[in-house]
Symmetry: C2
Subunit: 587 residues, 2 copies
């Protein structure tokens, strides 16, 4: 006995209700044509995820509800499970507040009570809603700001004669939680709809959860996840079907849209007593040849991160109506990596490189920038910043008796370059400046406020050591395709330098990146204290200095343009530190 299921790994856009509807309708058509009994879509697929405070607009929730009805009207014999938001009161959905307002913890709602639901659709009707019970409110998630939790439920839907439990995202992560309730209610298949963002290591954590839940509940799990970039988040998709022994039967490739179709054999599942069921359909629809699964290999860390950055940049630009980017090319590894990512995201014709040498720029850096541009096939202009540097030095200098300080002069050069890039983007159509700060620099404040402005900050969450690996990865990819490696070897091998004063190197101001990056990971991602980091074998004074730099750079980081989250704790809404903060740990 088997059931043909489809997991529609789509790339919605937040707020684009009609566009998302059309994507969903298209996938329903495809699944229907392939004889599927069931097609499922990601969490909040109709609104896009995360909708943030947009969802607090009553008009938006009403519009989303109308779109759900339009999708239901188009649903035929293939059952549709799709994520959306509903006004809990209007749709009669029980949420925790209704039972105990105190446990919903004092939310003074000046908007409707909302639930994050999976809607079950069949033959033109909404057959049922399942409200998410566990609302993540940590890291980048603010769901308790927006929704009230659904109440416990053991309700299952009988689809093609198979008892199917349905749940939304976080509900799967709790041992002996909602998944067990559904299994107790008789579910032999659990459909989990998700919007789970990418970060390094998240794939393993996620699979471990899915696999454990399958084994504990002795149910197969259909896991569907959103794909695509939304502001600082990238969703990798990686949808999968897992059997009751916790093994992957079939999965979708990561970082692309996909319709995963699979004939799920449930004959091995023990017969279960149903407690609280809604019968939708008793027999399978399709007797066409069996669909076999395909298990995609796990990508390397570099491949995952590089793909996430390309997709994140592509979607930020495309979904916001931008077509072109301007990048200041210094010949360094940061701007070179970004240029390669941008070319992969939107094509060489849409990337303009600007080289802006100052009196301190080395010939080899200028040569490297040109060589990179040539290899990538992008246009590059050169602007000498000396005239502006001279005139602005004089302007500012008039305020002071003495010569300007060295740091003032360094920052001035960086800011002139930024103003020039912004002016160029201003003068073009639908064009943004990509800023070039990496995570290591941004962590310790090794950047200039005013240089860091621009449209989007592609690599702001990529540690410098990982950036070198990404460049090598991209070059190896080219070699594997018999193409010229885009990033010149000398870009990767020379010592990092801002080139804002004579002979300057990053290592004059900062510990070597292979020391700095692990300290930053321990302090920021793992939240360790100074003494715990020293216990890992790092020098006390180095750790103390790095921690102090991180703490005092908060006000600069707060003004950065958004970047793409790829670590377990990115700057921004993932790590909400006060700027005014006098805490200085003793150790």
């Amino acid at each position: 006995m088997s059931i043909r299921i489809a997991a529609a790994q789509i790339n919605p856009t937040v707020g684009d209700l009609n566009g998302n509807r059309d994507k969903i309708l298209h996938a329903i058509d495809s699944a229907d044509e392939m004889g599927c009994d069931l097609v499922c879509f990601p969490e909040l697929a109709i609104t896009g995820y995360p909708p943030e405070d947009l969802i607090l607009k009553e008009g938006f929730v009403r519009d989303a509800r109308r779109v759900l009805d339009e999708i239901a009207a188009a649903a035929g014999d293939c059952v549709v499970i799709v994520g959306t938001v509903v006004n809990a009161q209007e749709d009669g959905i029980q949420v925790v507040a209704a039972n105990d307002a105190r446990h919903s913890s004092g939310q003074i709602f000046n908007h409707p009570i909302l639930a994050n639901v999976a809607a079950v659709l069949f033959r033109g009707e909404v057959v049922g809603f399942i409200a998410k019970q566990l609302l993540p409110n940590y890291g980048v998630f603010d769901e308790q700001r927006l929704f009230l939790p659904g109440i416990l439920s053991d309700q299952v839907f009988v689809i093609a004669g198979v008892p199917v439990g349905v749940m939304v995202c976080e509900d799967l992560w709790m041992e002996d939680g909602p998944a067990q309730d559904l299994a107790d209610g008789g579910a032999s298949v659990i459909v989990s709809i998700n919007a789970s963002p990418f970060s390094v290591g998240q794939g393993e954590a996620r699979f471990s959860v899915i696999s454990n839940r399958a084994k504990e509940t002795n149910a197969s799990i259909v896991y569907v996840n959103q794909v695509g970039g939304q502001d600082e988040l990238v969703f990798d998709g990686s949808s999968m079907v897992v059997d009751q022994d916790g093994k992957i039967l079939s999965n979708s490739p990561s970082f692309v849209e996909d319709l995963l179709v699979y004939d799920l054999d449930i004959s091995k599942t023990d017969e279960r007593k149903l407690e609280n069921e809604i019968i939708i359909s008793e027999a399978v629809r399709s007797f066409s040849p069996r669909v076999f699964g395909f298990v995609n290999p796990v990508l390397s860390e570099e491949a995952q991160v590089y793909s996430a950055l390309v997709l994140g940049l592509h979607d930020y630009l495309g979904k916001n109506g931008f077509t072109d980017v301007v990048i200041g090319l210094s010949g360094g590894v940061d701007s070179s990596a970004i240029a390669a990512i941008a070319v992969d995201a939107i094509g060489a014709n849409h990337v303009l490189g600007i080289s802006q040498p100052s009196r301190y720029s080395s010939d080899h850096s200028r040569g490297d920038a040109q060589e990179l541009a040539d290899r990538l096939g992008i246009k590059m202009n050169t602007i000498f910043i000396e005239p502006a540097h001279a005139s602005m030095t004089q302007m500012i200098g008039g305020v002071f008796k003495d010569d300007l300080k060295g740091l003032t002069d360094e920052n001035l050069q960086a800011r002139i370059r930024a103003v020039s890039l912004m002016g160029i983007a201003n003068n073009m159509e639908r064009t943004v400046v990509l800023t070039t700060g990496n995570r290591s620099e941004l962590a310790v404040g090794y950047f200039t406020l005013g240089d860091s402005i621009g449209g989007f900050s592609t690599i702001s969450d990529v540690p410098k050591t990982m950036l070198f690996n990404l460049c090598r990865y991209r070059n190896e990819l080219a070699i594997g395709r018999d193409e010229i490696p885009p990033i010149p070897e000398s870009v990767i091998s020379k010592p990092p330098s801002a080139e804002l004063s004579p002979g300057q190197e990053d290592s004059d101001s900062l510990p070597p990146y292979d020391i700095l990056d692990p300290i930053l990971k321990a302090y920021i991602e793992d939240n360790l204290t100074t003494s715990e980091i020293v216990d890992q074998g790092f020098d006390f004074n180095t750790v103390k200095r790095v921690v102090g730099l991180v703490d005092s750079a908060e006000f600069k980081r707060r003004q950065l343009p958004m970047g793409i989250k790829i670590t377990s704790k990115s700057f921004g809404r993932d790590r909400r530190m006060p700027i005014t903060n006098r805490y200085r740990p003793q150790i």
Copy 2:
């Protein structure tokens, strides 16, 4: 029968555990000397509020716990009630998670389970903890990210023979909630410790809540609130004692530190049966002459907002170690208002004005800037931006065949000014640039990315129409003190203009501010739809245009420096809108 209570309206700094401890110890000494039976401090007074993710550091929570013990050791016969954070497990505090992990909504804690508590201290000991039950997670609040809610409690503390119920902030806001539980438990006085930020209208809302709870529970309420600026929030204090009829008996002035001491008569309160009490002391300590209360008048809206801005700026600078500011003076109302606020906050000797005329600047603007500087007694330098404007036009122009667009040229001037101001601040010690964008401009995106950078954005939440009122208020204040009004009348009366192109006025690009501001309020603060705003009597096309401008300026606003919240919904973490957002309501 009476009890002498003290409400210590202190100004803590987030993270400054030792500094906050010293402030608390000082107030305990004063209250003790005045023979008080009880002194109470604001919510999270030991850590400062809001601590945000700083509180997720285990070492920080341990350090805060040590400071609590130090304060307890110093507590004598005057009972101390002080807000802090504790590790719920280590201190044996029951939180909701312990009873029902699902209602705590799926938080995957990788940090200790924390409670936001009022600690009761007496003669060197911690006598009890009361955990906050209702954790606000809307607007600027993220408490469900940090804490788990305390369980229901009717426990009261008998202090000087009087049954006193204790609660933290939000718990007071629920009708038939925690306050009623305490009254049912026998409390005739309720001590409410708070960290309640200022916004226009919040004072009335807050008093209404306090008054209603007092009447419903037939208990007197001692309401103590934090004062001071912390990043974008300003706490106004306004602590008060309210009798069981809901009338104010005594209150603290707003926007300053204060120790409010009052002999609270509880002889009118009916005898209550105690259900669950901890007896601390049976008799009052002091028989010294009765302390009479004083009720401060309610400030005008302009006085409240002006005071909030002065305090917010003062504390941001002082708590972050800055001593001086640089302001670009255009002769317009925005920069003039900021200069007046800055002088009131840190003194004229610490404010440097920079006039940066371009080829489009009018003589009267330059004259107004100089007149303002003279009246305020601040130093002003003049820098002509033409040399940099010319050199940068040529640099950027080299990339394009045609002349630069008008908008490119306007933005270039604004950015050159910003780079010049930042360079000047760079070259001074402990100095920041104050940016000059007001809420109306920031709402509709009428500002230049790259001009808007700087250290702090004082008036970013002040609508333009209110700004004119603030200037008039400040001038009247001066007249009342027989001083010269600081802001020249022509600054207030001339039509607003950015002066970036010949004859330019704001009204060429935007609706008049007395139309724009109410539309912005309806859309942003009241969350109304376009059609609901039109129903208020505004022109359809104007409303549609304004709403579109607000929606599309999100990516620019995200890169602004922090400003001071004074409306019910400021930009920033109070209003978390996605940048990538294709929602365009039909109407």
